[in-house]
């Protein structure tokens, strides 16, 4: 028994680079050999889906892209899933970006969904207003007068010349807001300055880390559901019946989480053995 304990203690003091290697393999292998684990939507994700389903046809939806390349794996799948859901239901999409990186992400998402998959017309079915600096001042500006903030869209076309922008002058003219957010400025600013004062319903998709900050607002009803990280994106893809990157990442995330749990358990076993030995000697 002592030899087993010695071995466990020796393994417990391994260089952390071995841990990194094992985690790397735990993430990589399921991507090549998918397990196809079933995905079950949580209540928070279902609320987002129901909020979008409840929109009347031809609703005007404002989507704000507040993430960059670093958080793209978590949030881009939810943005793509949402766009597919909105275009399938025949809604009009208006895109704004509070982060400069967000505009690149928005371009990618709309190219993939609006142009390639749905073959929609820019200016009639969707429009990208683009990035404006100013953080929450942009949100406040949009609440009072969009045209003061956006004279042209992201492609340089005058906003007054875009058919879809007819009768759109402020946030209250939209039927729904969705914030795809990875930090500041993001969901909290949209709730504080846009959704709460105007009463326009808002849903959000955020990184897993940020969910804690937003959950109180979801529970109080200020935010209509939340897509929580990549699991949230995968759940939404399952609900709309269009599995994508979010779904394919869940096998890897599942195995990685399991490996981390096993590391924690193993770490505690070594801790107990150390404590027992120190008591003994």
């Amino acid at each position: 028994m002592d030899k087993i304990f010695d071995f466990i203690l020796r393994v417990g003091t391994i260089d952390r680079r071995w841990i990194f290697l094992i985690i790397g393999l735990a993430v990589l292998l399921p991507l090549f050999f998918p397990l196809g684990l079933p995905i079950r939507a949580t209540i928070a994700t279902q609320k987002v889906y129901d909020a979008v389903e409840a929109l009347e046809e031809n609703s005007k939806v404002l989507i704000s892209f507040e993430y960059g390349p670093s958080t793209k794996p978590e949030i881009h799948p939810m943005a793509i899933g949402l766009l597919k859901h909105l275009f399938t239901n025949g809604h009009k999409v208006y895109v704004t970006c509070l982060w400069p990186d967000g505009q690149f992400m928005a371009d990618d998402a709309l190219e993939e969904v609006a142009e390639e998959e749905f073959n929609l017309t820019y200016g009639e079915d969707y429009v990208i207003l683009g990035f404006r600096p100013g953080n929450e001042a942009v949100v406040k500006g949009m609440v009072s007068n969009i045209r003061k903030l956006y004279t042209t869209d992201a492609r340089g076309t005058l906003v007054d010349d875009i058919p879809l922008m007819k009768n759109i002058n402020k946030v209250a003219d939209f039927d729904f807001i969705f914030s795809a957010s990875a930090g500041y400025p993001g969901t909290i600013e949209w709730v504080q300055y846009a959704s709460d004062p105007t009463g326009v319903p808002l849903s959000t998709g955020t990184t897993s880390i940020m969910v804690n900050d937003i959950m109180p607002m979801v529970n109080s009803g200020q935010v209509k559901g939340i897509l929580a990280g990549m699991p949230g994106a995968a759940e939404y893809e399952a609900l709309i019946g269009s599995p994508g990157i979010g779904t394919s990442g869940m096998d890897a995330q599942s195995i990685a989480h399991l490996v981390i749990v096993l590391f924690i358990v193993f770490g505690n076993i070594t801790y107990f053995i150390e404590v027992q030995r120190s008591k003994k000697y």
């Binding site: 670093s70 930090g183 500041y184 880390i209 940020m210 804690n212 900050d213």
Partner: protein, 288 residues
């Protein structure tokens, strides 16, 4: 600070002016937000009262905050090992209260490093923070009588981008191996990257942030963490200035008031839901 008589004259004058304004029909005032205005006035009055109380010599008890006690220990450790202190004031700009609080704590840390002649490295993520932090450090070194030890390059700009900044700070940690790493400010996802790298080089790490989602990462990876309000209390704790300590006491009393208000509101809402009263307290507490 105003003397008692002057203070009450000013306070009385302002109150009278507001009463007159109200009686004259309060033009331009957004009535829907009057409750919030009253709350702000009451809270501010509370803060001012305790600040004056402390300034006049009133005793204020401040509990021990291990993280702040450890700051001097961390600087001392760096001095003994002949290595530098790395100070990271967050990744946001001076428009965030946490960043300002971080820069203020930097001033106190700079006094210690100048006293012990320890080198200080402050990589920043924003240009305005660079200027503010530089002035703070310069002042601290001058006040300690060691302006000769101060160099402009102690506080230097890296980049605005979050992860590029994290990469830059990690590079500094791995190359220069500071003995103490202090993270005081607003952080996002890069917090664990910084803290784990600091852990790998064996540095003593003290973190302070009001970014709720990053607190668990700092608690896990750092030796000491200032959680939420402890971070805002740091300035008062380190300076032991009566005004700041009074402000801290006022803050605690505000918290007691808010707790009482929550319990009272809960009780009144229950009565409303049961139909025993007709008045919905939520309607006046909702901010328009």
């Amino acid at each position: 600070m105003l003397k008692d008589k002057e203070f009450w004259l000013v306070a009385g004058g302002l109150s009278l002016a507001f009463i007159l304004y109200w009686l004259l029909g309060h033009p331009l005032l957004n009535e829907e937000r009057i409750v919030m205005l009253l709350v702000i006035v009451i809270m501010s009055a509370n803060l001012i009262y305790y600040t004056r109380f402390a300034k006049k010599g009133g005793e204020i008890f401040l509990r021990e905050i291990p993280g702040l006690k450890a700051v001097e220990e961390a600087v001392g450790r760096s001095t003994e090992m002949g290595k530098s202190v790395l100070y990271v004031p967050g990744i946001m700009d001076m428009d965030q209260v946490e960043t300002v609080a971080g820069v203020i704590i930097l001033g106190h840390v700079s006094k210690m490093t100048s006293r012990y002649e320890t080198s200080l490295n402050v990589p920043v993520s924003r240009s305005i923070v660079m200027k503010a932090a530089r002035e703070t450090v310069r002042e601290a070194y001058t006040m300690e009588g060691r302006p000769d030890l101060f160099q402009d390059d102690m506080v230097h700009y890296l980049t605005d981008d979050q992860f590029a900044y994290a990469a830059g700070v990690n590079g500094i940690m791995v190359r220069e191996k500071p003995a103490a790493c202090l993270y005081m400010g607003k952080f996002f996802a890069e917090s664990l990257i910084l803290a784990e790298t600091g852990n790998s080089i064996g540095a003593i790490q003290i973190a302070g942030t009001a970014s709720q989602s990053q607190i668990p990462f700092f608690v896990t990876a750092c030796d000491y963490t200032l959680i939420g309000e402890e971070f805002f209390a740091a300035s008062a704790y380190l300076s032991q200035s009566p005004e700041l300590m009074g402000g801290l006491k006022g803050q605690d009393m505000m918290k007691a008031g808010v707790t009482a208000a929550i319990i009272l509101s809960l009780f009144m809402r229950v009565l409303f839901d049961l139909g025993l009263i007709k008045w919905n307290i939520i309607s006046i507490l909702t901010v328009q």
